[in-house]
Amino acid sequence: MSFINYSAREINCKIVYYGPGLCGKTTNLQFIYNRTNPEVKGKMISLATETERTLFFDFLPLALGEIRGFKTRFHLYTVPGQVFYDASRKLILKGVDGVVFVADSQVERMEANLESMDNLRVNLAEQGYDLDQLPFVIQYNKRDVPNAAALEELRKLLNPQGKVPDFEACATKGTGVFETLKATAKMILKDLRSMSR
């Protein structure tokens, strides 16, 4: 749920990066953090375990600029990907304005991708959201690994109707990271516009 503050002339939106464990959600945020100017970003918070697996969430606030005199801020969150952290994942989806699903391209992670996508749909529905109505983008990450599944294969599984904007990425190198973020942010702003008309 976006927050429009007339007093501060600000609009704040929340984007959640979802996906199976070790698919690269945190890596997406780290790349964005490393490549944005200090005046644009806030501090990145990672609530992680000692082995750097996300325990609760990562958080990165970004200020993208102004639209019609309103500062546009996006709060990026990741969820913990491991199956048993489902209770935490549900909490982070509260008030979401847009979702990025980060898929792991490795052949052996196909089932984990599907399971996580189903889990996303169920957890959103529990909060009263319909994934098909929400600004939503899919990112096929780790396209550079040798055991990556073919793009058509991934699309057939995760985007069978081809309705969701999708991007190939290699988050460690940054390929596709900003494209994914921009597409999601644009969809959110267009969604806000259509809701206010």
């Binding site: 976006s2 927050f3 007339y6 809701m195």
Partner: protein
């Protein structure tokens, strides 16, 4: 679709700011913050200049969300108040009207009892303002009044992303 925006106008903000400024004074608090349950900072008062309020808001919301998840597991509806005791500074966190979080930072100049007492009164006032905000949003929705976003064009959005 429950994805409607929280819209806060200048007059609402001023009312909220006046309430938390008074609370900061009455409770002898170092800082008072109003945070949306989705993690957005709404208003702040007190002497704590220069701290990272964006992170404070996000972590407070995460904290409240986690506690409320815990509450449900043991059959409670919510844990509406939280107290964190530090070496020097303490945090008193209250969930108001299941929608907004009041965070009070205080040190040895104040006491838990005083903070609790003052927060109770301020919480009622904050809840009233948010009820007004909700009614205004309903009215605006019913009358079709546009937000600043009804006027934006594709170009406005694209320009935001031009390098």
């Amino acid at each position: 679709m429950m994805n409607s925006s929280l819209v806060m106008y200048d007059e609402d903000y001023r009312k909220l700011l006046a309430i938390i400024q008074r609370l900061a004074q009455d409770a002898t608090a170092k800082g008072v913050f109003l945070v949306d349950t989705n993690g957005q900072m709404v208003a702040e008062a007190g002497e704590m200049q220069g701290i990272d309020t964006t992170s404070l808001a996000s972590l407070t919301a995460g904290n409240i969300a986690a506690s409320s998840g815990l509450a449900k597991i043991i059959g409670e509806d919510e844990f509406p108040t939280h107290f964190h005791q530090g070496q020097r500074d303490n945090l008193f966190i209250t969930l108001v009207a299941s929608r907004i979080i009041l965070v009070v930072v205080f040190d040895e100049r104040s006491s838990l009892g005083l903070v609790r007492l003052r927060v109770k009164k301020a919480g009622v006032q904050v809840a009233q303002v948010f009820e007004e905000i909700r009614k205004k949003a309903e009215h605006a929705h019913a009358s079709g009044a546009g937000s600043p976003f009804s006027e934006i064009t594709d170009d406005d959005i694209d320009n935001l992303f031009s390098e």
